[in-house]
């Protein structure tokens, strides 16, 4: 499988060879970590080392880090865990939850569930047109019964980085739990949980070259959550289930690499982003970039591209089938009755047409500088094919919906 055309690192990343080797190595130390005999010692050592690597990446202490089966479980755990730790079946005042409209489905769907089943009140805050949620808007949305606020650190579609520090400050003294979905940030930008000040922070190994199905949750010391998965006392009683030892060790190896290469990668991806912007603007002059104008507020590996008048779905199909290039879309025609349009882009104020014309480009560890030219050439070619198909149609026809 060639990797030259892979421009979808935000969807997932290739597993690095360090992570694969670590899995193979750790799988040989097969004893159950809960067992009491000497055979367990190497297993314990493996787990400790992995935990330390993750703590370094997240910026926390080892007793604050819990392993899970991925970002989605971590997000579920944080929100349900806060809500259910103080839940009493008696009918009382309903709890109020604040989230951003930019969140990933693993937050949105949990909140929808809490709303449906437990009749929580929910506020969904729209970002500004650059994809940023301000601390002021969180402050304005607070109610006396607000129990949880959940705002992501970096958005997966446009790469906008949220002012987590400021929001933490707003919530800190109000006894409101602040959860942060860090899945698109941890391993990609500098993250220091203690400095950022949230109560819980989720991450996922497959976004930083670890295997899929492994992640974790930072829980600030002193904060308690009802477990999502009750069981045999693993993870200090907070997350049941025999530890996914080899997976965790594999993720640990990826985390170690991510820590080591973070600065270098940030610089490299900023360069790529710059090249992408320049070459695309030159080859497809109508192109528009969604997201923060201030590039320090955007994860440098992520670029959201809108080419007005072009249906991104068709563009992506051509890139995939003619050039072996992978990108993500802001919309999908999911069935005969509905067209699903990115809730992220809509919340930023893009029109339906703009959303349909948007694709997400995300680079990563294995992207080479020459791949950028290959990519932008392919986009220019695909745009010309699409223009050839749509040009003959009279203008007013094209623009009517």
């Amino acid at each position: 499988m060639s990797i030259q055309g892979y421009f979808d690192y935000n969807a997932t990343t290739p597993v690095c060879s360090e992570a694969i080797n670590a899995f193979v190595n750790a799988a040989k130390a097969f004893a159950n970590p809960s067992s009491k005999y000497a055979l367990v010692k190497p297993v314990g050592a493996f787990l400790s080392e992995a935990r330390e690597s993750l703590c370094k990446l997240v910026g926390c202490a080892t007793d604050e880090l819990f392993f899970t089966s991925g970002g989605t479980e971590s997000n579920n755990w944080a929100l349900k865990g806060v809500f259910l730790r103080e839940f009493t079946a008696a009918p009382g005042e309903s709890a109020h939850i604040i989230i951003s409209a930019l969140e990933h489905s693993s937050i949105l769907e949990v909140v929808r569930y809490l709303e449906r089943t437990f009749h929580c009140e929910v506020s969904r805050l729209n970002p500004d047109n650059e994809g940023i949620i301000s601390a002021e808007s969180v402050l304005a949305a607070l109610r006396p019964n607000t129990r949880v606020v959940s705002i992501m650190l970096a958005n997966n579609e446009v790469g906008s980085i949220q002012p987590i520090c400021d929001i933490s400050r707003v919530l800190r003294d109000r006894n409101i739990h602040f959860h942060v979905d860090g899945v698109q940030a941890v391993g990609k930008i500098k993250v220091d949980a203690h400095m950022l000040g949230m109560d819980t922070l989720s991450f996922s190994g497959h976004k930083f070259y670890g295997p899929k199905g492994c992640g974790g949750l930072y829980i600030r010391r002193g904060v308690t959550l009802e477990p999502l998965i009750h069981g045999g006392g693993q993870e200090r009683g907070y997350r049941g289930g025999t530890e996914a030892v080899a997976m965790i060790v594999s993720m640990g190896a990826a985390a170690k690499l991510a820590s080591e290469q973070l600065d270098e990668n940030l610089q490299r991806f900023a360069q790529y982003s710059d090249l992408l912007r320049k070459q695309l603007t030159q080859k497809v002059p109508t192109v528009v970039f969604n997201g923060p104008k201030n590039l320090s507020m955007q994860v440098p590996n992520t670029l959201s591209i809108c080419i007005p008048g072009i249906r991104a779905e068709a563009l992506a199909a051509i890139l995939d089938n003619l050039n072996g290039i992978q990108v993500s879309l802001g919309s999908a025609c999911s069935n005969n009755k509905t067209m699903s349009l990115s809730h992220v882009l809509l919340s930023m104020g893009l029109t339906d047409e703009e959303v349909k014309s948007t694709l997400r480009v995300s680079v990563g560890l294995y992207t080479q500088e020459e791949d950028i030219k290959f990519f932008t050439d392919a986009v220019a070619n695909a745009v010309s094919i699409l223009n050839r198909i749509s040009k003959p149609v009279s203008e007013d026809h094209v623009l009517t919906t």
Binding site: R311, N321, C333, N336, L386, I389, S390, V393, H397
Partner: protein, 119 residues
């Protein structure tokens, strides 16, 4: 993901063109997703001499336009009118559920063409 028929037709749309001389035009839009297809025909003595299209939409609907033109160009109107539902169903190959409304568009194109002659 797309089957080979769809890929071939959207990545190399042989019938994407504007006819200078056309006798009939069929237009179609999908209100849900906003896809549009416009087909121009040059029909002489019951024979479809030329079919060309323009489209704005998803890859499958772009392919649909081309499949339609390719199928009917060089054929008699009578033959086209005799195509069965089953034959049309097969023209786009195996489709994923989300691609099925393009098959509807294809059926609609044939229906419009037939209407043109039975009207």
């Amino acid at each position: 993901m797309f089957n080979d028929i769809i890929v071939r037709n959207f990545s190399n749309p042989t019938h994407a063109a504007e006819l200078v001389q056309s006798t009939n035009t069929i237009e179609l839009g999908n209100p849900v997703c906003g896809d549009r297809i416009k087909v121009q025909l040059n029909i002489q003595d019951g024979l479809i001499l030329q079919a060309a299209y323009a489209a704005w939409g998803c890859a499958t609907s772009l392919a649909t336009g081309n499949v339609f033109c390719q199928k009917i160009q060089g054929t008699s109107v009578a033959d086209v009118c005799n195509l069965s539902k089953e034959e049309i169903d097969k023209m786009l190959g195996d489709l994923e559920p989300a691609q099925h409304h393009c098959l509807e568009m294809l059926h609609n194109l044939f229906a419009k063409l037939q209407q043109t002659f039975h009207a």
